[in-house]
Symmetry: C2
Subunit: 112 residues, 2 copies
DNA sequence: CCTCATGTGTAGCAAGGCTACCTGTCTGCC
DNA sequence: GGCAGACAGGTAGCCTTGCTACACATGAGG
């Protein structure tokens, strides 16, 4: 899958993943790959800047911890992030509905 | 709708619109607006460069005609464009399926 | 006459994901 | 002991692509 198709939707994915529990960056990449069946295999250079963006926006908060002598930065969803996620879901629905109307995802063009 | 969410999907939309018959740029904008129920209202500065991109790629071909003293450039889908559209449709399905799995468009997370 | 819709077009900006690179620890293999 | 590779985090700069703002031209309507 052409990954740049994500453009603008990555934030929503990250929020959705963090909705199920706090994770650190590397684990987020694993979670995305696992839940997408391998389709989403995002490089660290995509994830880390995106997480910082979300943190600047106040949608996630991070805390450092040390696991096996390795520094880990764990991210969790904030209340604002949860609200943002709801908005992103609505936005995604409208977007996919609109584009799907042209590309015929699974809803036929004229049911009625 | 945040229009930049289109990123990477605009070409597919244009091909899909032209699939139903040849149109000129301005009419394409109208068609997108009409078929999307007003959601997609794209500026000319988005459409014209995109059409040139598609023409360079060989997916559409254009021809000039004069209507009411106004020069019109009419675009039609090429065979390569038709094939590209099929690929775009498949790509869209995979993309929307993948993202939908996270944002829960209409398929629940764990049906079984 | 002037404005607005029709119609095409360009220059430059901005956003966002990607490539390529760097740092460091721990584990396993030779 | 040394080296590769997974784990873990991070940055700089590129590239694509849609958007804003503008320019040009004609025809219709006030």
């Amino acid at each position: 899958m052409r990954a740049q198709a994500l453009h603008g939707h990555l934030d929503a994915l990250l929020l959705a993943v963090l909705e199920q529990g706090e994770l650190h960056g590397y684990a987020i990449i694993d979670a995305l790959r696992a839940r997408s069946g391998g389709t989403l295999d995002l490089p660290t250079g995509t994830i880390y800047p995106a997480l910082r963006r979300l943190e600047r926006a106040g949608y996630v908060a991070s805390s450092w911890s040390t696991v096996n002598g390795r520094e880990r930065r764990t991210y969790r969803l904030t209340d604002a992030g949860l609200r943002a996620l709801a908005g992103e879901r609505a936005g995604w629905r409208e977007f996919s509905d609109t584009v799907g109307r042209f590309l015929g995802t699974d809803q036929p063009p004229a049911p009625a």
